[in-house]
């Protein structure tokens, strides 16, 4: 067993190589950048328009002010950018590896297979979304009059990491089921379309859906809970449960991958 520190360094160094290589490859298609920029702007404009339909008549969404709701929308945009940058380009290839049998080569590499499958490529085309989301979060939080103290900022940062980990685990578990069902790629489309619910504060939904988006599909922990922390009104209970959900989700994804691999018998068999 190698000592942990050099091992971590090795993974970081590998990650840098992976991403530098994929960046060089992706930059061959620079027209993509314009298309992505257009898509992000159009999506944001559409979301703002939809939100304005609720707020235009003096109503609000679940007791959130316009600016506070924009923080939620910004976080959603941020996570969507993360999906385009890392989750989609990496996890969408698992199914191809299973179908063509190249998963064998991945498993033989002297590196953790879940790490390789989750971080092998990096698509710069999600960066406009990441940037737009971050800007929207900051601007909306300032306009909402948020004055988070250091403690709240730390909590917000932790919750953001937690929400990214939850999102990753959801994607990974679904993508890993392609060991059994080669046609499972559509399941991540279902996930993506259901996660759209995270554009709005979870308290805006009726009680049944709110419960569903907290317990079954943890949309609440993806955008609403970090937004509360950024706005300086996080409750310790939500922070702790969010971190707990993230840890459990990550462990489940880890365990599930090991479990799925037991059923992997290569392409020809």
């Amino acid at each position: 067993m190698a000592r942990p520190a050099p091992e971590l360094l090795r993974y970081l160094r590998t990650l840098r190589r992976f991403w530098a290589a994929s960046l060089a490859a992706e930059l061959e298609y620079q027209a993509n950048f314009v298309l992505e920029l257009l898509a992000v702007s159009a999506n944001l404009a559409g979301s703002l328009f939809t939100l304005s339909l609720f707020y235009g008549h003096g109503h609000d969404l679940g007791g959130w002010s316009w600016d506070a709701a924009l923080v939620v929308l910004g976080l959603y945009t941020l996570l969507d950018g993360l999906t385009t940058t890392l989750l989609q380009p990496n996890l969408s290839t698992i199914v191809t590896h299973v179908r063509t049998g190249t998963l064998d080569f991945v498993l033989l590499k002297p590196i953790d297979s879940q790490f390789w499958l989750s971080a092998r490529t990096f698509s710069p085309w999600g960066l406009p979304g990441l940037a737009a989301g971050a800007v929207l979060v900051v601007v909306a939080a300032v306009r909402a009059g948020a004055r988070p103290d250091a403690l709240h900022l730390v909590a917000a940062a932790l919750l953001l990491v937690a929400s990214a980990l939850i999102l990753y685990s959801l994607w990974f578990v679904l993508a890993a089921t392609s060991i059994w069902f080669v046609k499972v790629w559509n399941a991540t489309e279902v996930l993506r379309s259901a996660l759209v619910a995270g554009r709005y504060p979870v308290s805006a939904y009726p009680a049944g859906l709110r419960l569903f988006f907290t317990v079954v599909l943890p949309v609440a922990f993806l955008t609403t809970v970090p937004a509360e922390a950024i706005l300086g009104r996080a409750s310790p209970l939500w922070v702790v449960s969010s971190l707990l959900v993230a840890a459990v989700a990550l462990l489940i994804s880890r365990w599930f991958w090991g479990f799925a691999l037991r059923f992997y018998t290569s392409a020809s068999s």
């Binding site: 257009l38 939809t50 279902v190 379309s193």
Partner: protein
């Protein structure tokens, strides 16, 4: 060829062709029914939006009661299910995998096969959509309604027409695959205004005035809002709706055909 046989023989030929195409594509789609269920599930947006609007928002939509709102979004969900078009992705994959060349050898434009595939996919989807509607009815008995026979007939017509128009417009875009690898990205871009203006996120009645007139001048609301209102018993300009849909279809049909011919010349010029 059919010119030599006279109208009767050619009609019989077309009927037989359609029957064979539809039955073979239906058998193919049945193989993918699990996948189609997942596809259908990914159309949950109107139901999510129903959840949002049923809170405080419903009071701000002129002419809508909470019950009318449930009917509208349920109808929008159904209409969306039967107007989904994916021809660009099928064509792109076929072209990439080299399946286009053998298809071109057959004495039939490959787009008839794609059309048959779409119709068969809708038939495969039907029981599942009915199951979801039944589920909603179980939770919410008041959510169901009986559309008037005329409304149902008009809604069916409008939904099919909307599907055909979307199919024609996307086919025109698909032809750009001959020139660019980014055609599918353009389609994804076009999907964004469709998402926000078609009435999937809110009935058009909720739009403030300049925006509503603007949206009604695009083809998008006529593809979801119009059939959904017909189905759920709302008031819509019926003649204008069918007119607008027909006009957009007739505008893009010749464009698609011309681009197809030009694209084919380019395709063979590449030596494929």
């Amino acid at each position: 060829m059919s010119r030599h046989h006279g109208p009767d023989r050619s009609l019989r030929h077309a009927v037989r062709l359609a029957r064979v195409l539809l039955s073979s594509q239906y058998a193919l789609m049945l193989e993918f029914r699990a996948e189609i269920v997942l596809w259908a599930l990914s159309g949950v947006l109107p139901l999510i939006m129903l959840g949002l609007w049923s809170g405080t928002g419903v009071a701000s939509i002129p002419g809508f009661t909470p019950q009318r709102l449930v009917h509208y979004f349920l109808a929008a969900f159904v209409v969306r299910q039967f107007t989904i078009v994916w021809v660009i992705h099928a064509f792109e994959e076929d072209a990439l995998q080299g399946r286009l060349s053998p298809a071109l050898l057959q004495p039939l434009n490959p787009f008839w096969r794609y059309l048959a595939a779409h119709v068969s996919e809708q038939a495969t989807r039907l029981p599942f959509v009915l199951a979801i509607v039944a589920l909603v009815a179980l939770v919410h008995p008041a959510a169901l309604w009986w559309p008037t026979p005329a409304g149902l007939l008009l809604a069916l017509l409008a939904t099919h027409l909307a599907f055909l128009v979307r199919f024609v417009i996307q086919s025109a875009l698909t032809m750009l695959c001959f020139w660019s690898e980014r055609a599918a990205a353009l389609e994804r871009l076009l999907l964004i205004p469709y998402l926000f203006l078609s009435g999937l996120v809110a009935p058009l009645e909720a739009f403030p005035e300049p925006m509503r007139s603007f949206a009604l001048n695009t083809p998008f609301p006529w593809m979801v809002w119009f059939p959904a209102q017909l189905l759920s018993g709302g008031t819509v300009p019926v003649a204008r709706g069918f007119g607008v849909l027909a006009a957009w279809g007739l505008l893009f049909l010749p464009i698609a055909v011309l681009l197809w011919r030009a694209g084919l010349r380019r395709y063979s010029a590449m030596g494929a």
